[in-house]
Symmetry: C2
Subunit: 192 residues, 2 copies
């Protein structure tokens, strides 16, 4: 089984997102998964979907982009980790979605209707934020829940998407953060 | 009065987003506005908010980023134009939000609560998509409406944000698109 962890945090190391990624990597390896960890900031991922790239037919998609897509197609379990910036992922991760969750490979529209090409996979999304969860829901309408579950993963056929929002990070103690890591691990283990 | 048009479309020219931007520029100039049009793709805007940039104190923000922020602070009317990609703006525009709608300049959190520093300005957002509007609302929960009105512009004090979604572009005729441009112009003129 293969797992792909996609991490987008502006720090080089030491963030709570990094701690979540390390926990996920260890947990998945212990469970026998082959794990790839993509730290989009560390690798200077280019988030810009250009007109040229968007216009390529399926056969023409090559090189780095084809490798990105094949990595996705080979994945059984997706783990996405990022801070909540304006109810959305950081731009670097938004661009990973724009470029790599590509029509014709991950989903398609045909005369018979939409085709969801990643059915049977699973996904878990960990987001971190400073807005307390009850305000994120009542005032902001928790946009990340809709974006990841209903817009991104449902489109490609993954109805089985779990999301855990961790907040408020800025107001938390080290003990609280340790507890969140345990809870995150437990959520991940439910999918294994 | 000053208007800032922020355009994010992957094409160099000829897109319906470009037609909307041209219409907005002409309409605003005719109404006496000083207009700046930012075509983020054309200028290869860098959407990556780095840890270093995020960590700068207010006094330290300089150069290109300070110019970006001052452009925003000088704006009376914002016009945002982009396609709907996964219920969000393209990454290049997401990064413009991440970097330029900056805490300490556009909004702040103080001991007395949040401060919204762009009060009194206006905003209009034109989005384009291929999903028919009724499906965008019923199935996708129209995330861009929440993101722009409730998350981005409300945070900085602009409660007076109008959004017009134009869909389905892929199924439209030239006559329909001409009609949409007229409707978009009418929506913009209501704000003048």
């Amino acid at each position: 089984m293969k797992a792909l962890i996609v991490l987008a945090n502006e720090k080089k190391e030491g963030s709570f997102c990094h701690a979540l990624a390390d926990m996920a990597k260890r947990t998945l390896r212990d469970a026998g998964y082959e794990v790839i960890l993509r730290d989009l900031y560390a690798e200077h991922f280019d988030p810009i979907l250009t007109h040229e790239e968007l216009s390529l037919s399926g056969d023409e998609v090559s090189g780095e982009l084809r490798a990105e897509i094949e990595q996705i197609l080979a994945t059984d379990l997706f783990v996405v980790i990022h801070p909540n910036w304006w109810g959305m992922p950081p731009a670097i991760l938004k661009g990973w979605i724009d470029r790599c969750i590509r029509q014709g490979f991950c989903y398609a529209f045909t005369a018979d209707g939409p085709v969801r090409m990643l059915e049977g996979r699973k996904a878990i999304v960990f987001t971190t934020g400073n807005t307390p969860q009850e305000i994120e829901v009542s005032v902001n309408h928790d946009p990340l829940d809709n974006l990841w579950k209903n817009i991104v993963f449902k489109t490609v056929g993954i109805d089985d998407c779990v999301r855990m929002n961790i907040a408020s990070l800025i107001m938390s103690t080290p003990q609280q953060r340790e507890q969140w890591l345990l809870e995150a691990k437990a959520e991940l283990e439910k999918l294994l």
